[in-house]
Amino acid sequence: MSRVAVLKGGRSLERQVSLVSGARVEDALERLGHEVVGVDVGGDLFPRLRETAPDVAFIALHGPGGEDGTIQELIEALGIPYTGSGVSASARCSNKVLAKHALRDAGLPTPDWVAFSEDAFRELGAADALEAIEQRLEFPLVVKPTDQGSAIGIKFARSAAEVPAAILAAFSYDPKVLIERFVHGRELAIGVLSRLGGGAEALPIVEAIPRDRDFYDFTARYDIGRTRFDCPAALEPVLAAHVQEVALAAYELLGCYGFARVDMILAESGPQILEINTIPGLTETSLLPQAADAAGIDFDELVARAVELALTRAAVEL
């Protein structure tokens, strides 16, 4: 039995999801016999952690601040073991541009893109390069904030006229945006779990199937009933194995630990990695726990494994 601090909430736009994830993790930890302290992350995080002196911190935060290495670095400074990926993997994965560079350098597939900072437009006249970029990537384009975990802020541009407003919207979330080639295909999410003895395993593949086939509308993900999720996805075994291998390769390349969810588009030419979420949702309807469940790992087991992995890593590092 350990004393576990569950870090949840925070100030990110995914606060609500995080609170639900956190509450569910707390329940599981209590069932597992741990002493649980829930912490809604705010200005008093440090004193609270000092006072609580947990044996381990379960980080159930989503989005900037919680998922990008910031919290991880602080907790590491306090010498508290924590669940999930370490500082550098968190920072790399949450920054979609860094993650895509790493993937491309390693020969893993990810859609072609160009990234820009707000300053580039303001000070370097980057707007003049837009036409060349549009020609290289071709329409439709996807415009994303670099550092936003969920589908928030993602816009499609079907023509040059739609590009500036899409970029403007993305800049509302992050001073850096990426413009990505839109890849047609099936939307897949692959959960990956680290193994206690070392290495990692890919979970059964989840497929997101929009009910009303509007490819361009990522907001469908938010609307209950507009997307359904199948698991395991109906894929040829050979193809499914390949997709899982790619997900696993990305997980390892970026140095992820504990668990993560790799989002992909399965194009005709094969899988294309969109992003890696190092702290995916852990709610009743979230994809990672459900994929784990489909593999015979129920939620309590998933949480227990994450905690044990955290303690193992800390033991090795000490």
Partner: protein, 475 residues
């Protein structure tokens, strides 16, 4: 505890839907909306955020002593009744209070022409429940009350929105829309309107349009749902008769023909007591009452007793006057701050009452995304998209002035204006165009016809100076 392969349950054999309850959900839940906006709004609840997003009355204005006195008088002899179920249509004593409130709005009704509801929201829900089959059409103003849209959706109605101008819903447009709908085989059931100090646009429907709307309803045998939460919160201008009072000028025993009226204690007493009411033609009222039985049997007895005790104990008009004065100053603070701080590309309405200003930005700014930026600056508003069901409103926002102090209103507007300025500059550099030169000079309304000038200051029209015009008239 460790995870071993031995304790793993068998893998599931075939692809299946992950959402466990999906097959059990009613089809209509597919129309219930959850959105990015809701995630964003969750972040605005932090205390450091200046929220111009709510629609809240300022309940700090209510004297705790008055609250205690009302509760004491309930305790004195009626404790058991206040803790008991009540009649579905509401207690007589409360209905008499409601009759008094409506008389204050110049509308004569009898106590047996209305039923008490659990907030005005329940009245909207009951009207939908009573009138709508899946696929039926509801016609409303565009923009409309964001809280009504999910109700229409939950009953699988099709929402058709008619644009407003300075005089409220454009009735000629409404008629054309109704013709088109009928020709296309659709079946409009009722027209939902907030004619006075509309939420969210802050516009008030003119008298000729009110009269014409009633004629249209009569000619086509359509019902009108008149939602009237704000009319006692008037800060300037002449009183406007309710649709209900135009249809039934001196009160009648027949309940009128085509107007359903809903009101609420939320804005004139308390939103937390959840007490509203609905007045309707008798056959409709009977159905609404049946609908209410299945919804909640009766509205809370305790809060009904509270209302009755409060009305009996003193002059409720006094509190309304206090609130009105406070909100008027806050509205002025907001209009002044907007006029002074907003870039010329922004346009907004000049409400003569109610709780809201509707602000429109250039087409290329999405206010839902803008809210993400605003929250980082600790200020919030309601993105306009929630006031439509068809994707319009994405470049507009609703600003509330009733629940925030004047200082904070000004600071909130300053922060929003700064973000808007940044976005405009950024869009300019993105498109390689400098911002079009729009004069920052504000023209004052000509003194001879200030009212006309200000009424023009609405949803789709170029804005005018709020400050100069408002001050040109005594308030």
């Amino acid at each position: 505890m460790s995870i071993g392969d031995d304790i793993r349950r068998p893998r599931r054999p075939a692809a299946h839907e992950l959402e466990r309850y999906e097959a059990l959900f009613a089809t209509r839940t597919g129309r219930m909306r959850s959105s990015v906006m809701r995630d964003l709004m969750a972040v605005t609840a932090r205390p450091e955020v200046i929220s111009l997003a709510g629609g809240l009355p300022d309940t700090t204005l209510f004297e705790p002593a008055l609250f205690a006195a009302a509760m004491d008088s309930i305790a004195d002899g009626t404790t058991a009744e206040a803790l008991q179920y009540g009649p579905t249509e509401g207690f007589e004593a409360v209905k008499e209070c409601i009759v008094e409130v409506m008389a204050e709005e110049g509308t004569v009704v009898a106590a047996d022409e209305l039923i008490v509801t659990t907030g005005g929201q329940q009245a909207i829900d009951l009207v939908c429940k009573t009138l709508l089959d899946p696929g039926d059409v509801v016609v409303a103003e565009g923009p409309t009350y964001p809280g009504a849209v999910p109700t229409f959706c939950a009953y699988e109605a099709q929402l058709v929105q008619v644009e407003m101008d300075s005089e409220g819903m454009q009735i000629d447009l409404l008629e054309r829309t109704l013709d088109e709908l009928t020709a296309a085989g659709h079946r409009p059931k009722f027209i939902y309107t907030i004619p006075t100090f509309q939420n969210p646009a802050g516009v008030t429907m003119s008298l000729p349009r009110r009269r014409r709307l009633i004629e249209v309803a009569r000619e086509r045998e359509l019902l009108v749902l008149e939602d009237n939460p704000y009319s006692l919160l008037r800060y300037e201008g002449e009183e406007m008769p309710t649709l209900r009072s135009l249809e039934v000028p001196h009160g009648s025993r027949d309940g009128g023909d085509f107007v359903i009226y809903t009101g609420t204690m939320s804005k004139i007493l308390s939103a937390g007591i959840r007490l509203g009411w609905v007045v309707a033609p008798r056959p409709v009222l009977a159905k609404l009452n049946l609908g209410k039985v299945s919804a909640d049997l009766c509205s809370p007895s305790l809060t009904q007793y509270f209302v009755a005790a409060y009305f009996a104990g003193g002059d409720w008009r006094e509190y309304v006057a206090t609130a009105r004065e406070a909100y008027r100053s806050r509205r002025d603070a907001m209009l002044d701050a907007l006029a002074e701080l907003m870039p010329p590309e922004a346009h907004w309405t000049h409400p003569r009452g109610g709780l809201f200003v509707w602000l429109t930005l250039p087409e290329f700014i999405d206010t839902t995304d803008l809210l993400a930026r605003a929250v980082r600056e600790n200020v919030a508003f309601v993105p306009g998209e929630g006031a439509y069901d068809d994707g319009r409103g994405h470049n507009a926002m609703r600003l509330n002035f009733s629940s925030v102090s004047e200082d904070r209103i000004r600071e909130g507007i300053r922060r929003i204006a700064k973000i808007v300025e940044e976005q405009l500059a950024l869009y300019g550099s993105l498109t390689g165009r400098a911002r079009p030169a729009v004069s920052r000079a504000r023209s004052a309304s000509p003194p001879d016809q200030p009212a006309e000038r200000e009424l023009a200051d609405v949803v789709e029209l170029p804005r005018r100076s709020g400050k100069a015009a408002r001050r040109s008239r005594p308030v």
